[in-house]
């Protein structure tokens, strides 16, 4: 890990002097217009900031993200047991010799899954440690907050696990990029599968976590399912701090609903699903149909917490270790060999984001955030586990296939909890940049911080 003693002011001065003297700072296209940029790497190393939840309820997910980043750093520096996805990535700019010839070192921060703590740790990594890029996180609230901070500071933010439409919707920023899918995509991918499995004549009852991600997910799933004929009989907001959902679940059957949609994530999802199964909802026959439960966003780590309760329940996910494309196989092999268990979707998106950032720097020939933005906007790539993918220039959102999964009936191990039931093609989950669910906000212009 790096612990640079340089101050932010010192670095800014250095960058400015270097630019003014016309020294050999590499520039790229629009980056030409900038005299310098914040935290320009000094010496033979470049510092990345991994901002993940190391404490709090998402600490296990954060630990998996950190493992993935450590693996990515090994692969970027060419010090790993293998080269992971560098072998399958469609871009060949990365050579395993660091980024632009500089060895990658990193510092870590603890988001605690709290926006203010996440901003503080990101700020510290930028100002004290000289991090030129911040990445990671396991919450949309954190992602939006840190993304805004990185925009103001003038460094790149490569989002970790964040699923709210707003991250690349109304809260999008020029310096921020998201590889993970979003609520709209979950709704668009899930609806046809649900229609096939449960029919078009269904009455849905939504329980929604009372925060940003919950709202966008409910809106996405509601609009997608209503478009195919489902009726939404009720949608109830549940406090984020709620642990026992019995008083919210008990009235579901009285409402006449025959599907319960749990717009919950993390501990909320584990508890609400466990409570719903305890109440025997899935054993009931309502409106002459089997009562069903849907969890729009699945995570293997969370599914583990819910245990056998996930069996047969549909949801969506960004990636799953059981995929058989070459990229996924390479990543699972690297990660599994190093750590002894398969990676989570959080680990995957973080690993990919680290590689995409490094690749963009190489292609841009600079660490200047404006050069990196230019290189990532409209970038099309493959071999990273999700099929052909586009980093759309309009909103810095990745567009790729989305997985619809189901809780496995007969798991063979503690990791074998979900099975892929459909790989939804990217065309089906693509939306216009001004779609009502993501409308508002503006990317603005890139900020190099100097």
């Amino acid at each position: 890990m790096s612990n640079s003693k340089l101050t932010r002011r010192g670095l800014i001065k250095t960058g400015a002097v270097a630019g003014a003297a016309g020294l050999t700072l590499p520039t790229y296209l629009r980056a030409d217009g900038h005299a310098g940029y914040l935290n320009a790497p000094q010496g033979d190393t470049v510092t990345l900031g991994f901002n993940v939840p190391q404490s709090g309820p998402y600490a296990d997910e954060g630990a998996d993200e950190l493992r993935a980043y450590e693996l990515a750093v090994e692969h970027l520096n060419g010090t790993g047991a293998d080269n992971g996805m560098l072998e399958t990535f469609s871009s060949d700019a990365l050579q395993g010799n660091g980024i632009l010839g500089k060895k990658v070192v990193y510092v870590t921060g603890d988001t605690q899954t709290k926006s203010d703590a996440a901003r503080a740790s990101a700020k510290s990594m930028i100002e004290k440690d000289g991090a030129i890029m911040i990445t990671g996180g396991s919450s949309s609230g954190v992602a939006v907050a840190v993304q805004a901070l990185c925009q103001e500071a003038g460094v790149i933010f490569m989002a970790g696990l964040t699923h709210s439409n707003d991250t690349t919707g109304k809260d999008k920023r020029a310096n921020g990029f998201r590889h993970f899918f979003n609520s709209y995509m979950s709704g668009a991918a899930l609806a046809p599968v649900l229609q096939n499995a449960y029919g078009s004549d269904r009455k849905a009852y939504h329980l929604t976590a009372d925060y940003n991600w919950g709202y966008t997910t409910e809106e996405a799933v509601r609009s997608s399912t209503e478009a195919m004929g489902w009726e939404t009989v009720n949608a109830v907001k549940t406090p984020l701090t709620q642990t026992d959902f019995s008083s919210y679940i008990a009235p579901v059957l009285q409402s006449g609903a025959d599907v319960l949609v749990l717009n919950h994530y993390g501990g909320n999802m584990v508890n609400s699903l466990t409570n719903a199964v305890q109440f025997g909802l899935r054993d009931k026959l309502v409106n002459d149909k089997n009562f069903e439960i849907v969890v729009p966003l699945y995570s293997r780590l969370m599914a583990k917490g819910a245990g056998a309760n996930v069996k047969g329940i549909f949801g969506s996910t960004n990636w799953h270790w059981s995929l058989t494309d070459e990229g996924s196989k390479a990543f699972v092999k690297s990660f599994g060999t190093k750590y002894g268990f398969p990676p989570s979707q959080a680990a995957h998106t973080c690993y990919v984001q680290a590689l995409l950032y490094a690749d963009a720097c190489e292609r841009a020939g600079t660490f200047n955030p404006c050069g990196v933005v230019e290189a990532l906007e409209g970038f099309e790539f493959d071999g990273m586990g999700n099929g052909p993918t586009l980093y759309r220039a309009d909103d810095h959102q990745c567009f790729k296939d989305v997985l619809v999964v189901k809780g496995k009936e007969n798991p063979t191990s503690e990791f074998d909890l979900l099975e892929i039931v459909e790989v939804t093609p990217v065309e089906q989950v693509t939306y216009a940049p001004d779609h009502p669910q993501v409308a508002g906000g503006s990317l603005g212009t890139c900020n190099p911080g100097a």
Partner: protein
């Protein structure tokens, strides 16, 4: 009508947990005069006693299954619990299935021991210190305990299911003449309510009908006079701390199948339980139980869709709102005694 019955039922099991934790809190406050903010952590440790026993019962050796492969394509390593080797698979599965109820036997000595160690090792040094000091040290202890649990068990919730015999729900609606499925209630929550009633009854009977309990009650009323009679009241109060820890722990053990245990579940209950104690009346055991059920039921009613439509957000403040109203009208709480926490 069916919705009202349903929410009363919901409130009963929620109130059971509040009442059990608040009962332990009140026991400790009433005997030792300590405001124990680590009491939620004892509830959490109780739940992890169930997790631990489940893990002990499923301790396994590895057998390689050449016919299957793991995620790396290597032959699959299958874990076979030692208990299968001892009792055979059928009996072994039955024992594992009943891990949570069996954990009660495991949790009692563990929780009493933890209570003793907490009281003798740390809390006794704060008896004569201001309540603010007691709160700070016990809150710090709670954080230490939950971080220890997180270190060993991770941050994710750990599923700890009820025995198969208690899975599913009972249709009260059909029994009471309503339409089927209008009032359903999980079997395990009924078990939890009955178990709580049993524990609460046992604690009250112990205090009311045994010589030990009589001395403790006398000590709660006038510690100095009991001491002057030559009775070692401190020793008895230490035992009461152990019993209070066991009550919180048992509440946690039986709660494990309701919500998968995680390291911060104690904190989720702690603040609410203190509100319960204050509303019930500081030092009043029956007040704690009454307030526990009352607030549990009110919280359930506040979560009804029709209530939320009329008063959005009421579900998040109802307990505190009621606490304010009760403390304004009855400053000592529902069943508080004169002189307690009033100096």
């Amino acid at each position: 009508m069916d919705a009202i019955i349903l929410q009363i039922l919901n409130g009963l099991d929620k109130g059971s947990a509040y009442a059990l934790i608040a009962l332990g809190l009140t026991l400790i406050f009433g005997t030792l005069g300590v405001v124990n903010f680590a009491h939620g952590a004892l509830f959490m440790i109780g739940a992890f006693c169930a997790v631990t026993l489940s893990r002990i019962l499923t301790l396994s050796h590895t057998v390689v299954d050449e016919t299957k492969t793991d995620f790396l394509g290597n032959p699959l390593k299958v874990d076979v619990p030692y208990i299968y080797d001892i009792f055979g698979q059928t009996t072994g599965d039955a024992i594992i299935d009943w891990a949570v109820p069996i954990s009660i036997l495991f949790a009692i000595p563990v929780m009493v021991a933890i209570g003793f160690i907490m009281e003798r090792g740390l809390i006794k040094h704060f008896y004569k210190r201001p309540h603010a000091d007691q709160i700070l040290v016990t809150f710090g202890l709670a954080i230490v305990l939950q971080e220890i649990i997180k270190y060993f068990y991770g941050a994710n919730p750990i599923p700890t299911p009820a025995p198969d015999a208690f899975r599913g729900s009972f249709d009260f609606g059909a029994m009471l003449g309503f339409d089927p499925n209008t009032i359903i209630y999980p079997y395990w929550r009924l078990v939890y309510f009955a178990f709580s009633a049993l524990i609460i009854g046992a604690v009250f009977a112990f205090l009311q009908f045994t010589t030990f309990g009589m001395v403790v009650r006398a000590g709660m009323a006038d510690r100095e006079t009991v001491g002057l009679l030559g009775i070692n009241i401190d020793k008895r109060f230490t035992i009461m701390f152990g019993i209070a820890a066991a009550v919180a722990g048992l509440a946690g053990v039986m709660y494990a199948p309701i919500n998968s245990p995680n390291y911060h579940m104690g904190m989720d209950f702690l603040v609410l339980s203190f509100v319960v104690v204050v509303v019930g009346g500081m030092g009043s055991l029956s007040g704690a139980v009454l307030a526990g059920f009352l607030l549990g039921i009110l919280e359930s009613f506040a979560s009804m869709a029709i209530v939320l439509e009329t008063l959005p957000g009421i579900n998040q403040i109802i307990i505190y709102l009621v606490a304010i109203i009760i403390l304004l009208t009855r400053p000592r709480g529902l069943m508080g005694r004169k002189g307690v926490m009033e100096e």
